[in-house]
Amino acid sequence: MEDAARLLQLVVNGAAAGCIYGLIALGFVLIYKATEMINFAQGDIMMLGGFFAFALITHFGLNYWVGALLAILLTAAFGFALDAVVLRRVIGQPQFAVVMLTLGLGFIFRAAAGITWGYDSVGFETPFTNRTINLGGLILGQDNVSIIVGTVLLCGVLYLFFSHTRLGIAMQASSQNQLAAYYMGIPVRTVFSLIWAISAGVAAVAGILLSPVSMIDVNMGFLGIKAFAAAVLGGFGSIPGALLGGVVIGIVEQLAGYFLPAGFQEVTSNVVLLATLILRPQGLFAEIAGKRV
């Protein structure tokens, strides 16, 4: 009985970590679907989001909810500017130029955050820190539960946005066919920048939700590498796939840490990633059928 409870605990922790991976992966997928770029700095944008919230809540003394909302908006604006100023210039260059460009941007963000906020881990008081809830004998940290609930809520909002608003549908259209979207009068460039803004905002949400579980520090962006595994597992073109992939990776990682010898937990996500790419490159939830020549 105790084992089952322990297992369930692991699964919930894993799912919470997985939601974070899923949220970062969601950012990858949104950008990839629209512009065919992969933003290797996504994890670092999450880090920036976390630090923005930290600065607003701790230094400016704002309420948690107000501070978090402002931080998300700030990060989204940052994402918009990033596309409009930097990334739009590299359209037409080889794809790995974009990879290297975003990697370089990641280094710069990390250094900028380190200079501004220091290299030590920081945290801020949230309504979920160090509280637990008791679900029929199962004791869960509110921080973990808040991550899962927050992710589900955010996905609901995004789903409604993409399926029911004019702008959301315009975004889908530009992702599917740029040229046709232009002909329909959609300002594709602005829409792409807005997609970058959304994915940066989602990353900020991930950073803020993650802050009560693990502190905010400059190197938290390396979580982005695990989020690749989530995105690839989900097929890299599918939004629900990315989230599910994230949850799967999170749970598998926790279980591997529990059942396998030390050292395996760190490589699990990478092993899953390579295995997926080799065995089923289109991912578990492929949306894009075979390539046309």
Binding site: V86, Q93, F96, A97, F107, R110, A112, V232, N270, L273
Partner: protein, 358 residues
């Protein structure tokens, strides 16, 4: 300005464009041979490091610059080469055997990672090699029976025919020799049908395939070649640092290799050497000017990686040809003076190439 009149088909594939090339490379060679007698131990050591990174850069250039495949896991190849060489030496194998064996063994890993990644294109490949590199890095840390884990691995001092190679000068000449051989070897490969096939794959996979190029074979070959050369560099690296720590071979090192290739100039062997000079000498330069910088910028931690990042971003945005590309432009400006026009180097209008419709 020199005009090249081609009177023979062999001129198209010759190693030297004209006699002037031969003269300048000869001069450079003599200067490089004399340097250890002129400069101090410290600078000779640093230059040795530049050569080691240039060898690794050639491996990266053949893959990224000439075949168009990106790898973010080349640090793993470097690590495999380094540990293979160190372990062989500690079992008493002479350097002249251990060095190529380290390269060949790493080449096998290159094939192993090349085969499954054939079906992946651009971005997936970057992610897959990133994962591969990070797995190998963890293996170095955890497999203590072989690598010594975080205790490190002391590399025995090698010797060639009884001549010990232990000080900076020895490493300098050894890496210079390997670099020259590797450059010559790569330049030759690039002149063969094999090299032409690699370039064709880079420019367009579809047209390469329709010209009868076996994509899978040549891509695997490119990976194996890149891993082989990086493995050689790894063996040299082991002697250069003399003490292997498993966390040296992380993603940042892979990013440094790609930086070499991008900053030097994609698709040129000259660029590799220039890029390696840049990447290795930047930290030294920072160390020298550290105290003179205003506002205490020089004392900030994390300055180096951010500078690498900044340079990478600037190069990709403003000079995709890298240092070598800029050098060509400057040279043309002088050669054609005063006929340089604003459109002389204007790039064609370019469009995003979609991977979905390939």
């Amino acid at each position: 300005m020199r005009y090249l009149f081609k009177t023979d088909y062999r001129q198209d594939t010759s190693l030297w464009r004209h006699r002037g090339d031969l003269f300048w490379y000869g001069l450079l060679g003599i200067v490089l041979l004399v340097i250890p007698f002129v400069l101090g131990e410290f600078y000779v050591g640093e230059l040795g490091g530049v050569f080691v990174f240039a060898v690794a850069g050639v491996g990266m250039m053949l893959l990224a610059g000439y075949t168009g495949l990106i790898s973010l896991g080349n640090a793993a190849f470097l690590g495999i080469g380094a540990y293979t060489d160190a372990i062989l030496l500690s079992h008493g194998v002479p350097l002249l055997i251990a060095l190529p064996v380290a390269g060949l063994f790493t080449g096998l890993f290159g094939i192993a990672i090349g085969l499954p990644t054939l079906r992946m294109s651009g971005l997936y490949l970057a992610i897959a090699t990133l994962a591969f590199g990070s797995i190998v890095g963890t293996v170095f840390q955890k497999w203590e029976a072989i690598t010594g884990g975080f205790d490190g691995f002391a590399v025995p001092a090698p010797d060639i025919f009884g001549v010990p190679i232990q000080n900076a000068t020895g490493i300098y000449y050894l890496s210079l020799a390997v670099l020259v051989i590797v450059l010559w070897f790569s330049a030759n490969i690039l002149r063969t049908p094999l090299g032409r096939a690699m370039v064709a794959i880079r420019d367009s996979e579809i047209s390469a395939q329709s010209m009868g190029i076996h994509l899978a074979r040549y891509k695997t070959f490119a990976f194996a070649l890149s891993a082989f050369i990086t493995g050689l560099a790894g063996a040299l690296f082991a002697h250069y640092v003399r003490f292997l720590a498993p966390d040296a071979f992380d993603v940042l090192l892979s990013v440094q290799f790609v930086t070499i290739v991008f900053v030097g100039g994609l698709g040129s062997l000259h660029g590799v050497v220039l890029g390696a000079l840049f990447v290795r000498l930047l930290p030294q330069f920072i160390a020298i000017v550290r105290d003179d910088l205003p506002f205490g910028i020089g004392r900030m931690p994390g300055l180096e990686p951010s500078l690498y990042g900044l340079v990478l971003v600037i190069v990709i945005l403003f000079e995709p040809g890298g240092i070598y590309g800029r050098w060509i432009k400057i040279k043309r400006w002088f050669q054609a003076y005063p006929f340089k026009r604003r459109t002389s180097f204007r790039r064609q209008k370019s469009y995003a190439r979609s991977e979905r419709l390939r």
